[in-house]
Symmetry: C2
Subunit: 273 residues, 2 copies
């Protein structure tokens, strides 16, 4: 039996009603999860963020049903990517979300294939001209309104750049199009505050929560581009690819350093790969 | 024969592939068109905005095919609402839009039913706490990233408020959740500048283009809430409902005045209703 790669509300199905509010308004949230041997990695982090995102947007979702559905969905699978979308469902009148029932869409994808050099030798960041907007009501949430990322990612088509770095309208560094940013200073790790824009990645959160026990302090703060001139190492991270050292951005250059390697090592242990 | 109320890419179909980027990222645009006796109203305005929106987002769409499809879709219909969604389609890798082929979704809806008093006696605006974010790259476009409107519209559930008024993060008045805003001053009409946020409605544009020939000057500018204390009339508009006088917002009160009535009259003539 071939297991269907898309399920909608717990049943194999590869289409969504045209009236779904995820399509109409981007009215929903998502998680992209690395699955190893049929097991979600960072599962507590993904479930917590999904619940928090739904709560912030007032999307009523049955997390127990969703978890049971995901267990069934992953039952016969090995390693790959699970994408979970929870939309507010169909209905409501105009923008009003009243009376909607949420819908969940699970899909299965191959692990992305990136060169091993991204982890070993590091990557070059493209300097995106697109600036992230300022919207504290939605900042941090992994919602379906992702046009900024699409527009930013369409800025370059040169494989020398594995990722692009985004500032916000205030000129602060925020994140990559699909990763969060960390700087290594003499104090430890710094990552941008995401109260005005950006996506609060679960790998970012895992690093913030866990690196102190490895003796590496962490802080969340506003970071201006000039700060990059003073740091010894830079890396980006997400829950699928782990940690990529950054070796170049604009006119700046770094080498993958010892702190980045310690974080990579911890992440590899946790991702069990 | 019953004409299907949803078409996808020119064929009757009420579902969309789960991998559509409209669902994944809100990666698309839409138009909501009032149809009278099978004819689009404000058709030039809707087509121009759709093309402009697609151009700004780099969505490649075949406007001739789309227009022909809409003609077929409307052939057997009377009066109602045509919703046109153009997404970037399926495909691309992650956020990158490379290699996508756009998809169009047409749907047919009943005209909304609002009390006649909204046009005759005016409406009360809810003062939304949600502030629109600042994002000049996307401002003005009627794209599918509409979580701000959803969140704002969910703030009230009291039928005394026909609409809610939104400020942006800078404190400027911008628009209603589904309408644009006009103030009547001694100079003529003023409507908020939408360079940082908001949706540039086609009815707003029609009013800006056409009221001067009725002897009413128009201007687009930043408008702070205090400005409302100095204006003689206020109204909101959109392409489906035309013009609703505003009679109350926060502690302020107005009566439907002569300028609003002249705009209503001009709009009624144009909408042919």
């Amino acid at each position: 039996m071939i297991t269907a790669n898309v399920w909608v509300d717990g049943e194999p199905c590869s289409v969504v009603p045209s009236g779904d509010r995820g399509l109409a308004y981007g009215d929903g949230v998502f998680e992209t999860v690395k699955v190893v041997s049929g097991q979600m990695t960072l599962d507590d982090y993904h479930w917590n963020r999904l619940q928090d995102s739904c709560h912030r947007l007032g999307i009523d979702t049955d997390i127990v049903f969703l978890q049971q559905t995901v267990s069934r969905f992953l039952a016969e699978r090995a390693s790959g990517i699970l994408k979970m979308i929870v939309t507010r469902g169909s209905g409501g009148r105009g923008y009003s979300p009243k009376g909607c029932r949420s819908r969940c869409i699970l899909s299965w994808h191959d692990l992305p294939e990136y060169p091993a050099a991204y982890w070993q030798d590091g990557i070059t960041l493209y300097a995106c001209a697109t600036e992230l907007g300022l919207q504290p009501s939605l900042a941090g949430i992994k919602h379906l309104n992702r046009l900024e990322q699409v527009v930013a990612r369409s800025e370059w088509d040169d494989s020398r750049y594995a990722e692009g770095l985004l500032k916000d309208l205030n000129g602060n560094l925020i994140e990559g199009t699909m990763t969060n940013l960390f700087l290594v200073t003499s104090e430890g790790l710094s990552t941008p505050d995401l109260k005005m824009s950006g996506v609060a990645g679960v790998m970012r959160q895992w690093i913030l929560d866990n690196m102190p026990q490895y003796g590496i302090k962490t802080q969340v703060c506003d970071i201006v581009p000039d700060a990059l001139h003073q740091v010894s190492e830079v890396f980006v991270c997400n829950s699928v690819n782990g940690v990529w050292p950054v070796v170049a951005y604009a006119d700046m250059r770094w080498a993958p350093g010892p702190v980045t390697r310690r974080v990579q090592s911890a992440v590899s242990g946790m991702l069990n790969v």
